[in-house]
Symmetry: C2
Subunit: 162 residues, 2 copies
């Protein structure tokens, strides 16, 4: 089937916050993002995964990216977030880029992801995070790999313009 990728895009210089050990019950995500919104933190993307933790419960991971300019404000805000939530642990990592393949109504993300992720693997670039929408597959990579990742994906989809 025709793979419908029309372009690639990069958003350089993102920071990433990862929250673990959060209670998995209604109100937790609301508390996190209300605090961030109140402090005008510009949140780029949000991802949450959940895995069974072998004790009949589940371990939730919430991760979000922020613009580099907002990173200095984050540490005290994250303290307030954990206080509002009543638990958990927060890690702030810096120096990432978001590199995306952009399509027009991607029918199956598997086909686009297979080509895109193979291109990154062949370039020796590790994928730290993944997020998708109907028109995009986005990867978070180390900032130092960003431009090279963009070119590798661009070439893998046979996009023009060199």
């Amino acid at each position: 089937e025709k793979i419908e990728v029309a372009g690639v895009a990069i958003k350089a210089d993102l920071g990433r916050v990862t929250l673990t050990g959060l209670p998995n019950k209604p109100g937790v995500a609301a508390a996190i993002f209300a605090m961030l919104a109140d402090h005008q933190i510009l949140v780029d993307d949000i991802i949450q995964t959940v895995v069974p933790n072998g004790e009949g419960g589940s371990a939730v991971t919430v991760s979000f990216t922020v613009e580099h300019s907002d990173l200095a404000d984050l540490p005290p805000v994250m303290d307030k977030v954990l206080e509002a939530v009543g638990g958990g642990k927060s890690t702030i990592d810096v120096g990432f880029s978001k590199v995306s393949a952009v399509g027009v109504g991607i029918r199956s993300h598997a086909a686009v992801a297979a080509v895109m992720f193979r291109a990154l693997a062949d370039a020796g670039i590790n994928i730290a995070n993944i997020t998708t929408s109907e028109i995009k597959v986005c990867t978070i990579v180390e900032k130092a790999d960003g431009e090279r990742a963009l070119r590798a994906i661009h070439d893998a989809f046979g996009l023009g313009g060199g």
Copy 2:
């Protein structure tokens, strides 16, 4: 600041696959999605989070949703995926809906997320997964909560049409 949500959407009846214990190195994500693409699995969204695992390494979680109609094909394909990757564990859960708030160029996901997640919390609905794009904040909830979640978010953003 004005919250730019124009509508809500629901995609009912999704299954979700969660992969843990994967090696975190180039080529792993490529192997997973090449296998899924080869077996024509219709993958909806993909999310990957990573947390430090206290041994200097990192624990990666890859989660993706699939259309209900593809669920029966999944178990043998996931066995092949783990074989191709050389490790890891796969869990298949069924009975989810994806409920989204749709905006026009959302500037800060924090503001939209705060309102949306508060609406779900007030309705007593737990958020299992979260994914975003420039125009959407999407939550995965239990299928039984889907329609109620849609209405709660619709009302929270003051959208018309009852």
